[in-house]
């Protein structure tokens, strides 16, 4: 019968007027608005939800919220499919499709369950022990096996179609958790005028106030919660966020919160994000994250239908769902009696087992008064029921509670267990808080804080309502006073709650005589008491080692329900107290976070900013193939019709050598340098001399790092006495600017110089080739472009169509060449004008590939040679190094190693067959026939097809290069399994004397 497990009274948060249909493992069910997938399934009598990780044991719900270790499902289908989702955290929405995972062929009948029968072969450390050797088995046999066996859900293969956003927030006080202490702190801080954010993971504010029968002021807990939330909503300085989990606490009070924005909406609009990641920099963080109930370890304590007493209560009070109709309540403390009372309200009388000898707590008395028989000094030894709990083997404990004195079997359809409460200290711990052990509650609580973080309420170990409220109001007020002068204090209302007696220190039941059922501690990773015993027996002592060996607490739930029970058990065996055992480290995220939320909008084209030159669209129209140069998109080559890349590049490069080519060099870094000390500064920054550079002239310069390695090169020109224009490589533009700023601001602040990036202010167009002068003369008839009028390394300012243009006579291609610079906005116009005028000279655009070909042939070094390992001597730049003056990095050049004959220096290579292109990165060896390791002489840095000689040519950096010229060596590429006989030649392959650029 559908929804047969609903409570009698509708006092929860379910809207029975709105039915919601959903499917689970192909069957259709319905629940109601307000249900979670978990409560909807339970109300339909379904507890079996999945199979466990290691043994494939049938598992159901243990909890009701984030603490849930078992109930992980695969949601949705196709590209929206999402694995490992905790069913207790999924709000029911029309048409939701969920299925079990880690089972095949079905959750009822799972082949992998054989692991359970073989469980003696799967002890702690199983993976370490079994899959160690032989090594050759790893890739083909072990890894696929482990992957299959360990496979939980299945990640979708298609891109995620959903939208995720990032948001940055600042506030004075962030309150995490909206239970009594959280609401109290938020109210106190907000009323005092602080900017407050209140975050609640669940769909409703109120925390324990939604489930506990308490009175605050003259209201019920629930009413007070609603009233407080209404007050907070009315205040403009408060942001209330439900469905929002603060999962990470980082340095300087940076917290990160994930908000589930539209998963619960039936038809979210197209632009509503699915989730939103909030980076919140909070002045103060109040951790009011409450506490999580501890399970108890007993034989087969993992069957579907066995769950936490608090979860059973919340299912009844909030979700109007009965976890069973024949319950056993098993506890070591008073709080589980409130679950018993909820059952009684539904005319269900539970069997109550209490490990303690007695209790006179108020709830216990109330239950007794209702005539329920409480079996004190009792526990559960074992359970039966394959896919769902059917019966429990229970009995009385002996005096030391180390054995059962008698055993009997009783029928049941659920067991609600309670081992007391663990404060949720994760965030405090992430914030660097050194936790301390509180013996009163047998759990760790925050102690010495490192950041501006304060735990209140149950998260602070304050388990009574009075304490929680008092702490909340006090801390909220105190902290808000740091940010406002209002000094408005809110009074703590009186509150009433039942008095509790102390819990018993017993979290693990003895085994039934002669039997060894598994007593689980960590449900998600299938770690049982016997695994911890084994780890200790095998000599693991540090809790961090025990954790890794057994995998206790290492699952996705981060041991929310298992850490303390594990610690407690280790301390029992080791006969040490828990604080001596210590605790493992809590790390973010507190709950699993989807990759989509972390990535946010940084997908596709938004992954990185794209920089485009003003001429970009023209390149696109001309069919350019683009290549990324840092963030820039540069034309790589412009294929015509059926041309492949090689054809196009050869055509473009050959046309520069023969006619004239045009290349967009806007991406080059440009830095404007001004000030009376500018010449002196350049003189210190560059290896060559700069003091005497005449106005109107450019000079090539090389910069070093302090360790003597070449940092960057480029052409810098003197525009006026104290004004220079520096160019850098595209790749190093940003680094060079930082470098200059460093020396001006930190090292030589006495120099009066200013530097400013002008990369984006200028558009640069290279016009290269023997016909470039003729072309530009036509375009600029008023200026003298003759070799005398504008010699190599000269520059001239002019105008065209009313646009300012600066023409530099500089060359990267080794040909007669110019670079025309105009203000960026006019880059496209200038480009088109040159193209139009150039038609008569057979002008063609060339991309970065042809640009490379041209510079490689000429032996001009670039990024591949200047890779941070080369001193000027290595790459033929000795001539650039001044002997007279000092400059950055000079002292390093005198180090012996940098002038050794063994240094790898620059040479050219031509394959002997004049046909085979040498792959970049190939190793150069003397003899390719000797056994490995073959002594390596160096490597190939750049390769091209020489359009001048019509054969391949490469630049290489090899040991004692100068003396190797004329020798035959081998270029080997083990990656491509080739060995190419090569001749070593000069790196200046074309026009070694540089006549063309000066022609």
């Amino acid at each position: 019968m559908s929804n047969a497990y609903r409570t009698k009274n509708s006092t929860g948060l379910i809207n029975k007027n709105k039915k919601i249909n959903f499917s689970f493992n192909g069957h259709t069910y319905h629940g109601y608005e307000g249900d979670t997938l978990a409560s909807a399934l339970i109300s339909n009598g379904i507890h079996l939800i999945g199979r466990s990780f290691k043994y494939h044991r049938p598992r159901g719900f243990l909890g009701v919220g984030v603490e849930e270790p078992n109930a992980m499902v695969q949601l949705h289908e196709g590209n929206k499919s999402e694995p490992n989702i905790i069913a207790t955290e999924v709000e029911l929405v029309e048409g939701l499709k969920a299925k079990s995972q880690n089972c095949w062929p079905s959750v009822q009948f799972d082949i992998g369950e054989v692991n359970n029968l073989l469980n003696r072969f799967f002890p702690a450390g199983f993976y370490y022990k079994t899959f160690m050797w032989p090594k050759s088995f790893w890739m083909k046999i072990y890894e696929p096996f482990i992957r299959k066996a360990a496979g939980m859900g299945v990640a979708p293969l298609q891109p995620d179609p959903d939208r995720y956003e990032h948001n940055y927030e600042h506030c004075d006080v962030l309150v995490v958790g909206s239970g009594p202490s959280g609401l109290a702190s938020a109210l106190a801080a907000a009323k005092n005028g602080a900017r407050v954010i209140l975050a609640e993971d669940k769909a409703n504010f109120g925390g324990s106030l939604l489930t506990d029968e308490v009175t605050i002021g003259n209201m019920s807990g629930k009413e007070w919660a609603n009233d407080t939330v209404a007050q907070l909503k009315s205040l403009p300085n408060v942001i209330l966020k439900k469905r929002s989990q603060v999962f990470g606490y980082y340095d300087h009070n940076m917290t990160v919160m994930i908000e589930r924005v539209s998963d619960h909406q039936e038809n979210p609009s197209k632009y509503t994000p699915r989730q939103r990641l909030h980076y919140i920099r909070a002045g103060e963080v109040i951790v009011s994250t409450g506490s999580i109930e501890r399970p108890i370890s007993f034989g087969n304590n993992d069957r579907p239908g066995i769950l936490l007493a608090s979860a059973a209560k919340e299912y009844m009070t909030v979700y109007e769902t009965l976890v069973g109709k024949k319950p056993i309540i098993f506890t070591n403390n008073d709080t589980a009696y409130s679950t018993a009372l909820e059952f009684l309200k539904n005319d269900i009388t539970p069997v109550i087992l209490d490990t303690r000898n007695n209790s006179n707590g108020e709830l216990v008395k109330e239950v007794k008064q209702k005539g329920v028989n409480i079996r004190f000094n009792s526990g559960i030894a074992d359970t039966k029921g394959h896919l769902k709990i059917k019966s429990a083997v229970i009995g009385e404990l002996d005096k030391d509670k180390e054995n059962f004195t008698s055993l009997e079997s009783i029928d049941c359809d659920c067991i609600c267990m309670s081992g007391g409460w663990t404060p949720t200290v994760h965030l405090s711990s992430q914030a660097g808080n050194k936790l301390k052990f509180n013996e009163e509650i047998d759990a760790f609580v925050p102690d010495k804080k490192r950041q501006r973080e304060s735990a209140v309420g149950a998260a602070n170990g304050s388990f009574t309502l009075n304490q929680s409220l008092a702490e909340g109001f006090q801390v909220g007020f105190d902290l808000s006073n740091k940010f406002t002068d209002n000094n408005i204090e809110t009074n703590t209302p009186n509150s009433k709650e039942p008095k509790y007696e102390k819990h018993e220190r017993l979290w693990c039941m003895p085994l039934p005589q002669g039997k060894k059922p598994k007593r689980f501690i960590d449900f998600q990773n299938d770690v049982a008491v016997s695994d911890v015993e084994l780890a200790i027996r095998e000599g693991f002592r540090s809790i961090e080692h025990v954790k890794r060996y057994t995998t206790l607490g290492m699952a996705g739930d981060q041991g929310k329900t298992s850490n303390l029970n594990g610690l407690q058990y280790v301390s029992n065996i080791e006969k040490k107290i828990v604080p001596e055992v210590g605790h493992t480290t809590f790390r973010p995220p507190y709950t699993p976070v989807t990759i989509g939320a972390i990535v946010g909008r940084e997908v596709g084209n938004h992954y990185l900013p794209t920089r485009k030159s003003p001429i970009h669209n023209w390149h696109e129209e001309k069919n350019a193939v683009f290549v990324a140069a840092g963030l820039w998109q540069r034309p790589r080559y412009y294929p015509k019709e059926s041309e492949n890349m090689n054809d196009a590049v050869n055509r473009e490069a050959a046309n520069v050598r023969k006619n004239v080519g045009i290349c967009d060099v806007t991406t080059l870094g440009k830095i404007d340098i001004k000030g009376p000390d500018a010449p002196e500064f350049l003189n210190r920054v560059y290896t060559n001399a700069w003091l005497k550079l005449p106005v109107g002239k450019a000079r090539y310069g090389v910069m070093l790092r302090e360790d003597g390695m070449v940092f960057d090169d480029g052409t810098t020109s003197r525009l006026s006495e104290n004004h220079f224009h520096m160019t850098t490589t595209t790749a190093q533009a940003a680094n060079v600017l930082s470098h200059l700023e460093y020396y001006l601001q930190v090292v030589w602040p006495e120099l009066d110089v200013n530097v400013l990036s002008t990369t984006e202010q200028w558009s640069g167009i290279a016009v290269a080739g023997p016909k470039s002068r003729e072309l530009l003369s036509k375009l600029f008839p008023n200026i003298d472009l003759s070799n005398e009028g504008l010699p190599f390394m000269g520059l001239v300012d002019t105008n065209i169509d009313g646009i300012f243009a600066r023409i530099y006579r500089i060359s990267f291609s080794g040909e007669l060449a110019y670079e025309v610079n105009v203000e960026s906005n006019f880059g496209l116009h200038m480009w088109k004008r040159i193209m139009d005028e150039g038609k008569a000279f057979n002008i063609e655009p060339y991309g970065t590939e042809a640009l490379s070909t041209l510079r490689i042939e000429m032996g001009h070094v670039a990024g591949a040679e200047l890779d941070g390992r080369a001193v000027p001597f290595d790459v033929g730049l000795n001539g650039m190094v001044s002997k007279k003056k000092d400059f950055i990095g000079k002292r390093s050049l005198s180090k012996e190693a940098f002038s050794s004959e063994d240094r790898q220096t620059i040479v050219g290579l031509v394959p002997l067959d004049k046909r085979t292109k040498i792959p970049e990165g190939s190793h150069i060896v003397e003899n390719d026939k000797v056994a490995s390791p073959v002594p390596k002489l160096g490597h190939v840095s750049s390769s091209c097809w020489s359009v001048e000689y019509n054969n391949p040519f490469s630049i290489a950096i090899i040991k004692d290069g100068k003396n190797k010229i004329g020798k035959n060596l081998f270029a080997v590429s083990p990656l491509k399994d080739i060995s190419i006989p090569v001749e070593v030649v000069s790196s200046h392959y074309v026009d070694p004397d540089g006549e063309r650029v000066r022609s």
Binding site: N253, R281, V746, P749, D886
Partner: protein
């Protein structure tokens, strides 16, 4: 992510800054006669203290000023920041 107070712009997130290393290292004077050992110490060797460290930061995605910070390398607490020509308020 750290929150760093640029002496020119105020508090900003760490992702606007780049780190510049030990601020107490002094570059030798230009043209200074210096032993290889002293030079190598300047170029390569840095202390790596646990605790208080005086260091350089560069507000690259901001005002582009280099400045000094006094930071605890273990806890990341930043005690103070100041302009290059100033001293910490300690």
């Amino acid at each position: 992510m750290l929150e760093i107070k640029c002496p020119y712009c105020g508090k900003r997130s760490q992702n606007e800054f780049s780190y510049g290393g030990d601020a107490t290292v002094k570059r030798p004077m230009l043209g200074e006669e210096i032993s290889t050992e002293d030079w190598d110490n300047f170029v390569y060797f840095r202390d790596n203290p646990r605790g208080k460290h005086t260091e350089l930061w560069h507000h690259v995605s901001g005002c582009r000023q280099w400045f000094k910070a006094s930071r605890d390398t273990a806890t990341h607490e930043i005690f103070d920041t100041c302009k290059m020509n100033e001293a910490f308020n300690e």
